[in-house]
Subunit: 209 residues, 2 copies
């Protein structure tokens, strides 16, 4: 127990130090960066630690162009994410309108936002990036998932609770079909949606709790 | 002249203070944030100050899905941007392959990356975001523009000079057709590509030089 306590103390101190600024960018992550070859765990970590990204849909209004839009999201309570991105969208914004016409979508995140890329260029492969390709649709008919998603969103983005009622924001979900992950040199890592959704997150959890 | 000197001194001191961290996020901008109702100038400022974003193309490999990808870019030397995003792409990456098949694309940036959104949620309309919709294609047959774009990219992203020659990186350009800008409450601001490309940047330039 003493050794375990010492290790926990060391780990917390280490990540406390990591929270300091690197190249002027603050580290925003709450759980340690997994080893890059633990591909599925790494992908889930990147999604879980992030709070926003770019959600791309097909724009009927602009000739079928791929339309990226900055969106806040959540995949669960902090460090308890399930890997599925949930959004709080209104049809006053083109993204929700697009998805209701054509569900094809992708959601793109950069590790650069977490502050853990150091001085590397955001496009350098050592600065991880992920794109989740799938179908974007309104969440309906599942009260348990609705409750999970609502708590996930409102915990990570408290301001959402106060977004105007009159704008009729609804919870949307991106069903995960394909994963494009780069977290080192050598091209995208092969990873299936099933591997991603069933990734072992226990190693990370044991450090952060 | 004394008054002008005093004003310049005050402006520099003010923006020097602004360079301090807001909510732990460092301010990365080198020119002052324009007034939000100077829409075209504001849009150009946001693009010029940014160094990366998400470039979305149509993925033939994934059923025509809109595919967002994290990309570094430049629209010119620091504070001398022309508003046209240039990229350095290789067909080893899906984005360049997609564009060679279908030029429809968009490029999305968030002010959140500049550190000037304070404590606001990244999706709050007071934290500006822009999407440039247009056609993405390889830059060919224009030595002057090629030289401009190459200098723009390599100055903002010095690492690009050392990217592997064997990957055959080429300069791509996003022709600006439509602009989606949100920088305050009330929905997207009406702004044409022509207004954007011809925006008056003199006020910003006079402060930063």
């Amino acid at each position: 127990m003493k050794l375990k306590g010492f290790i926990h103390c060391f780990v917390f101190a280490f990540f406390g130090l990591l929270q300091q600024s690197v190249q002027g960018r603050p580290l925003l992550m709450s759980a340690p960066r997994p080893w890059r070859d633990d591909t599925a765990t790494f992908a889930r970590w990147l999604v879980s630690q992030s709070s926003w990204g770019v959600l791309s849909t097909i724009s009927g209004e602009w000739g079928g162009a791929p339309f990226g839009n900055v969106m806040s999201f959540s995949d669960g309570l902090p460090d308890e994410g399930r890997g599925i991105p949930y959004f709080y969208l209104t049809t006053l914004d083109p993204t929700a309108r697009n998805a209701l016409e054509d569900q094809r979508a992708s959601f793109t995140l950069s590790e650069y936002n977490l502050g853990s890329c150091g001085k590397e260029d955001p496009e350098d492969p050592s600065c991880a990036k992920i794109t989740i390709v799938g179908k974007l649709h309104q969440l309906e008919g599942n009260p348990d998932e609705d409750e999970f998603a609502r708590t996930a969103l409102f915990t990570k983005h408290p301001a959402m609770k106060w977004w105007p009622k009159g704008h009729d924001f609804q919870i949307f979900k991106l069903d995960v079909e394909n994963i494009f992950l780069i977290n080192w040199y050598g091209g995208a890592k092969p990873i299936t949606a099933e591997q991603y959704l069933n990734a072992d997150m226990s190693e990370i959890a044991s450090v952060t709790r």
